[in-house]
């Protein structure tokens, strides 16, 4: 047998995981519109969502891979309804996990140094208080 090389057939097993995604809170108009657009393009709904997501990501040059920021935001969005019970409290999310609730943002920052000193990104927000604001930016220094 010495000096001979035998080719062996190695069985390849591909594991396919099918995931059912439930989107809570998606309004009827968007759902219908998404479904209609998928049919128009001859795609299954999952393919349409995947394509739309890839297109969305292609606009964000910093987001070639899923960043810590993306993971933390996804965690926040997933927990958003549940977090409403902490109204008035500050919550801390890092590493894709809810690390705690606090009386103020500074306490959250102190705890972050203890619980996740290696984190490059964290979400610190006060539930019910921090809300999206639309402000104005007139001319002046508006060349980004």
């Amino acid at each position: 047998m010495a000096g001979k090389v035998y080719a062996m057939r190695v069985p390849v097993v591909t594991k396919v995981i099918l995931v059912t995604l439930v989107i809570r809170g998606l309004d009827e108009k968007t759902r219908r519109s998404l479904r209609a657009e998928a049919i128009r393009r001859g795609l299954r709904l999952a393919q349409a969502v995947k394509e739309a997501f890839q297109l969305w990501r292609s606009y964000d040059q910093d987001a070639e891979t899923l960043s810590e920021r993306d993971v933390n935001n996804a965690t926040y969005n997933a927990l958003k309804q549940e977090l409403e019970k902490y109204a008035g409290k500050t919550i801390l999310i890092a590493g894709g996990r809810l690390l705690g609730t606090y009386d103020n943002p500074r306490s959250a920052a102190t705890d972050l140094s203890l619980k996740a000193p290696e984190a490059q990104h964290a979400i610190v927000t006060t539930i019910g208080k921090d809300k999206r604001e639309e402000l104005e930016w007139l001319g002046g220094s508006l060349n980004l």
């Binding site: 490059q120 990104h121 979400i123 639309e134 402000l135 930016w137 002046g140």
Partner: protein
């Protein structure tokens, strides 16, 4: 209307001779100085507290708001979405306060002081002397 008298406490020369500035100290929520008494231009057309360059903003990413709560600015060229984070600000002759700082989600941004930061301070933009001064109201003699 009663006449009011103000005393200038401290003044700083305008940047490049024409941009009013104030020196600011910015720290992270856990107290690490990021910017120390650095003169920052004032832009009264920016209604937020402070805009930062992307590079400066990266120091505050450990206390960022969720993307869904970050600010949007209405501009002449359409809405500009921001990334918003918490920071500690110290202005001359004032106590340290917590503020929200922004950087554009797309683009490199720049550092400037906005209108919201000027609330609560008395300021003189002196065009003749090309300087910016912090003021304090004096009681009438």
């Amino acid at each position: 209307m009663a006449r009011r008298l103000f005393e200038s406490l401290e003044c700083w020369p305008n940047l490049d001779g024409n941009r009013p500035t104030l020196p600011v100290t910015l720290s992270t929520l856990d107290g690490q100085h990021v910017v120390h008494e650095q003169p920052m231009p004032i832009d009264t057309g920016f209604t937020g507290a402070m805009l930062l360059s992307r590079e400066a903003f990266s120091n505050f990413e450990r206390a960022e708001l969720p993307e869904s709560e970050s600010r949007i600015y209405r501009t002449l060229i359409g809405p500009v979405p921001m990334r918003t984070a918490r920071a500690l600000l110290k202005l001359p002759l004032a106590d340290e306060t917590e503020i929200l700082v922004d950087t554009p989600k797309y683009g490199v941004g720049k550092s400037l002081i906005g209108l919201r930061l000027l609330r609560g301070i008395e300021l003189l933009l002196n065009g003749q002397r090309l300087e910016t001064c912090l003021l304090e109201e004096r009681s009438q003699p």
